[in-house]
């Protein structure tokens, strides 16, 4: 954390922050950070073509060449409509599940931060939650809660909750002793310490947790759907259908769309986090 920086060095440069934020937004730097993943993408596509056209050849229904994903699936209005409707339903589940996981995770962590005995009683369950073989539970959740929106959301919450709990708790406990004593000396109440000291200090960790949970929420929404297949089918059901019908171009199209959605959510939360705390919080990655 920035507060742990010892004050031994005299960095008398007020302008440093200004110059940094300008260079971060320069276009050249954006391209510089973009080209390595693009190069990897090019290599993957090349490898894909070789595998599909040369190695598999006649059997390439197992792995259609990349362009067929567009010509056969994404540019086919019927298929594209199916995929995007399914994506929309999955997104609703993911966003609802994520919102619940965020609120529940923060409340859980705040409760644990208030007393050691609460932490000792509740933390093991957070760990257990993370270790549950969710896949085995998914059908059960379907039986208990029906195979609809609620059940899908519950699967999503179960998968996305742990990073929120552990990150928030870590953030709340990262407050330095002297800062806590500063508040104590003024006779500040628990509530004041929580709202004016612990929660603000925990924000960077909370946002890091949200970013992880957001990705997991998308996975959770798809997994639930993949198994339920009933109710309002989303991307998961679609994947399952395409697999059973060996519609590989459609299958890959759906996978790629789901994947891009997950990445978009991850990037969005990274951006929100930087907007919220980037001004004062320097992460170690600089």
């Amino acid at each position: 954390m920035a507060t742990t920086t010892p004050t031994t060095t005299v960095r008398a440069d007020v302008s440093a922050a200004g110059t940094r934020s300008i260079s971060t937004f320069r276009l050249g730097r954006g391209l510089k950070t973009l080209w390595p993943p693009l190069a990897v993408l090019a290599a993957i596509i090349l490898g894909w073509y070789v595998l599909s056209l040369v190695v598999l050849a006649e059997r390439n229904f197992l792995l259609p060449p990349p362009h067929e994903i567009f010509t056969e699936a994404l540019f086919n209005p019927g298929t594209a409509a199916d995929i995007f409707l399914a994506l929309w339903r999955t997104a609703l589940v993911a966003v609802t599940g994520l919102a619940i996981a965020i609120v529940l995770g923060i409340v859980w962590a705040v409760a644990m931060s208030q007393a050691r005995w609460v932490e000792r009683s509740l933390f093991p369950y957070a760990v257990i939650l993370q270790c549950i073989p969710i896949l085995a539970l998914v059908p059960l959740i379907g039986f208990w809660f029906g195979f609809n929106f609620e059940a899908r959301t519950i699967v999503c919450v179960l998968i996305a909750l742990f990073p929120m709990v552990s990150n928030t708790l870590f953030g709340l406990q990262s407050v330095e002793k002297s800062q806590r004593e500063l508040f104590q000396l003024q006779g500040a109440s628990r509530w004041t310490v929580l709202t004016k000291l612990q929660l603000p200090a925990a924000l960077p960790a909370i946002f890091a947790g949200m970013r992880i949970s957001a990705g997991l929420a998308v996975v959770g929404a798809i997994v639930g759907d993949f198994f339920f297949r009933r109710g309002t089918p989303g991307i998961g059901s679609l994947l399952s259908d395409y697999t059973s019908r060996i519609q590989s171009a459609e299958l890959f199209a759906a996978i790629i769309v789901a994947c891009l959605f997950g990445v978009a959510v991850f990037v969005l939360f990274g951006w929100i986090g930087r907007r919220a705390v980037g001004r004062w919080y320097e992460s170690n990655r600089g």
Binding site: A2, P200, W280, E282
Partner: protein, 250 residues
């Protein structure tokens, strides 16, 4: 002088001892008074219980033996690190304590402005701590405590982490503020020359368990002339105190 001391006494330790739950005895038989208008500095070897002394004075810790009388509830406490909240600007950091005491917004903005002015940080109100030098952070920390208009100001090696030049400049600033505000100070340092320069009284502590081995009145008048550092009298006092420190350490 002793006859009137009851009215002027702000802080009084009588035969104070402190033993931590783990069995470490940090202080033993400490007698110490801080009068109004006095600036008392404590020097002592590392680990002798100086911080513990301040923590007891502030109420963060309570002594296991002896009496502590405190005649004010307006206490300023300056920690070794500046303990600024990194998400708050200089202005908002300086306003924090008044905010915790539920002082109305307009009033605390005003108090913060005055304090920021007093420590010479005007123009930096909007800066975040990470954009400040170590010296400026310490000034912010000082300003934050000044908003409470403390009667007793406790300092735990506030300048220990600063370079020599910044340190001397802050000593002068602190003296100027002391002369203007007339709070009583209890200051901890490792530097004997710092102690002699800024105090009206220097108290020397022994190694652990800490007790007071000697007390020196500093005769130089306030406001203090920076040139006093280069006088023979200053050198002699510094020498005596260093000697007492070494004696007490054995």
């Amino acid at each position: 002088m002793t006859a009137t001391s009851i009215d002027t006494q702000l802080l009084r330790f009588s035969d104070v001892a402190m033993t931590f739950p783990n069995g470490t005895t940090a202080l033993e038989g400490v007698d110490l008074t801080v009068d109004r208008g006095e600036f008392v500095t404590v020097v002592g070897p590392s680990g002798c219980g100086k911080s513990t002394l301040l923590r007891i004075a502030s109420g963060l810790e309570s002594a296991t033996e002896g009496g502590v009388e405190l005649d004010t509830d307006r206490i300023g406490y300056v920690f070794q690190d500046a303990t600024l909240l990194p998400w708050r600007s200089v202005q908002a950091n300086v306003e924090l304590l008044a905010e915790l005491h539920k002082v109305p917004k307009a009033q605390r903005t005003e108090a913060a402005k005055a304090a920021i002015d007093l420590v010479g940080l005007t123009g930096f109100e909007k800066n975040l701590p990470r954009e400040l030098s170590g010296g400026m952070r310490m000034r912010t920390s000082l300003a934050r405590s000044l908003t409470l208009d403390p009667e007793l100001f406790l300092f735990d090696e506030p300048f220990g982490a600063l370079d020599e030049i910044t340190r001397e400049r802050l000593q002068d600033e602190l003296l100027r503020i002391f002369v203007e505000k007339r709070f009583a100070g209890l200051f901890i340092t490792h530097s004997v020359s710092e102690a002699v320069y800024i105090s009206t009284k220097v108290v020397v502590m022994s190694g652990r368990p800490g007790h007071i081995v000697d007390t020196f009145d500093i005769p130089f008048p306030m406001p203090r002339d920076p040139e006093v550092r280069f006088t023979a009298e200053f050198a002699e006092l510094t020498g005596k105190i260093s000697h007492a420190l070494r004696e007490g350490h054995r």
